[in-house]
């Protein structure tokens, strides 16, 4: 595995199992293997894209990194510190460096708090008083994310979806964090607004040297934001590479299928592209297939795929977990 010099974030063998339903009253509980042995590193100032379909564990991974969840096994190392089992008190100083942007701008802002209160809460919780006072700093941040600082006393319902997402971004930026985990930050927005938010986050990354873990299901959106991309399937990373390599020469059959399924708004490109149609749905993470978890939908699957889970190995510029990579 290629390692990055001084990664700001390093995740090793990260695993999260959730208790599922149980059979009868005294039966054994099912275990939902949401994330299962995930390894990756993120360099300072880089944007890592985490893509996959629903239920692949990308959001759980994001919540483990920000320690909104505690891992079942494995470690999360942030700036050299193993934070995997930190208590809430221990996490508090870390959280000033590690923030999150949520998917749903309607659910993630308290409707009874003004924008000013929402964006200044991080200062209060961490007992930080910025130079010139909290209000001045909050108004500066509002301006940075493209909101009118005079809207300090307005409530979330007075804003559109795109503006609300800007408020969420402002809150994440308040303490000048080093790493931001953005979980599907544009998927709830209208098409014409998505580009505004992507451009804003790109500018912020450049201006403040922010590091991003960008979680999304939309491969085209990730391509425009992340420099490196990791593809997840059913709790595992199946492929990880720099953007250009991954999109030009996908090595894992799943990555290939995922790319070919993206509909393109160009009538001429439609006939020209190779089509791979996966059959069936993503299997249940309570009972994932043995060996390679993708084998039940893979056209290349052979005997070895059912018995041995493939390891994430370096092939050229890509790390891929497949017995028969392209």
């Amino acid at each position: 595995m290629t390692s990055i010099n001084n990664p700001i974030l390093s995740v090793q063998g990260l695993t999260k199992h959730f208790p599922g339903g149980r059979e009868g009253l005294i039966g054994k509980r099912d275990v939902v293997q949401a994330v299962d042995g995930v390894n990756f590193e993120v360099a300072a100032g880089e944007a890592l894209g985490l893509v996959g379909e629903s239920g692949c564990g990308k959001s759980t991974t994001g919540r483990l990194i920000t320690r909104l969840l505690e891992p079942t096994a494995g470690t999360v190392t942030f700036e050299g510190q193993d934070i995997s089992h930190f208590s809430n008190t221990q996490m508090r100083p870390i959280r000033t460096q590690l923030q999150m942007i949520f998917q749903d701008p309607y659910a993630s802002l308290n409707p009874r708090h003004t924008v000013g209160t929402i964006v200044s809460t991080p200062f209060k919780i961490n007992k930080v008083t910025p130079e010139g006072g909290v209000k001045k700093r909050v108004q500066e941040i509002l301006e940075i994310v493209g909101l009118n600082p005079e809207h300090y006393n307005r409530y979330p319902h007075e804003f559109s979806g795109g503006q609300r997402q800007r408020i969420g971004i402002a809150r994440a930026l308040a303490l000048r964090p080093k790493l931001i985990v953005a979980d599907e930050p544009v998927s709830a927005l209208d098409v014409s607004i998505q580009a505004q938010i992507i451009n804003l986050m790109k500018d912020l990354q450049k201006d403040f040297g922010l590091t991003f873990v960008f979680i999304a299901h939309d491969l085209a959106v990730v391509r425009h934001f992340a420099q490196r991309v990791a593809v997840m399937y059913l709790g595992n990373i199946v492929e990880i590479a720099d953007r250009d390599t991954l999109y030009a020469t996908p090595k894992h059959p799943y990555t290939k299928a995922l790319l070919s399924a993206v509909p393109e708004a160009d009538p001429d490109a439609i006939g020209a592209r190779e089509r791979i149609r996966l059959t069936g749905d993503v299997p249940n993470p309570i009972n994932p297939p043995s060996g390679c978890r993708f084998r039940t939908r893979c056209w290349k699957a052979a005997e070895i795929c059912a018995t041995q889970p493939p390891a994430l190995l370096q092939i050229g510029k890509t790390q891929v977990a497949c017995h028969f990579p392209e």
């Binding site: 503006q163 014409s192 998505q194 509909p263 393109e264 160009d266």
Partner: protein, 341 residues
Amino acid sequence: MSAFLEVKNLSVAFPTEDGIVQAVDSLSFSVEKGKTLGIVGESGSGKSVTSLAILGLQKGSKAQVSGEIWVDGNEIIAASEAEVRKLRGKAMSMIFQDALAALHPYYTVGHQIAEAYLVHNDVSKKMAAARAVEMLDRVGIPEPHKRVNDYPHQFSGGMRQRAMIAMALSCNPSLLIADEPTTALDVTVQAQILELLRDLQKEFGTAIILITHDLGVVAETADDILLMYAGKQIEYGTVRDVLQVPQHPYAWGLLTSIPRLTGDPSLALTAIQGAPPSLISVPSGCAFHPRCTYVDNVGAACASIIPELIPVSEGKHHSVRCHMSAKVREDIFANQVKPQL
């Protein structure tokens, strides 16, 4: 010859406490059998209201519907509830976005598919149940004779959407309205569902209205595109024309702002400024003018006069609602928009 579905000057308004909301404003379009029309627009542009009006689902509500809707020679707006009811399910049916909300959790999937078939056909319950199995098989559900007795929660998201399609198609409708049928689904499953719709259309010659916000989905499935903004149709034509030589600045904005799998990803996306308007206070004149980059090419007309829907060129099935002259639009598109696509 008239088309299977013909909509003329359809307007839908809702009286609210804050005033009248003109959700749909003088919409005209048609769909032939075996063809697909994609209605594209952002939230609040009137796409879903249009589909509900075609199905006659606004009867009995406060909505004020005017214009004409002809389905296979039957006018819907003036028709009685009983008359529309006879058409609904049989001549036309609908697939909803959220299959989990549209399916009843207390009844088995098979029961719900058989119900519509029983209502519209003179058959026994047994035959209707057999029809449910047949339809599930047709939409690619494995082991349909077993799964027919499952409840919706036992189906995955993709399977539920398939079950909805099975239900909508059980009476062989000639018109199918699909309202964001794949928005809640993953891309690989979305590709399966779109392919299924195409196959079924080829087999049964169904006319389809596909409502979506995703230009990629339209490009792959539709024959015509109707682009809506703030309740009005602002561009209408074949998929090829609208996506390759788009005429309206809003269409340009949409096409240049969507992230793609090709092109230089390090360039910033050209975003449309501002946000879609609220239908309670639609901007005067052209509703898009506060967000339009090219208002300076026209002058005062954009803010005061609502532009007419005019054909792009004589006799062509491609029309646009914009004050700019054809020449100016052509220049801007060739020099400023095309290089970004």
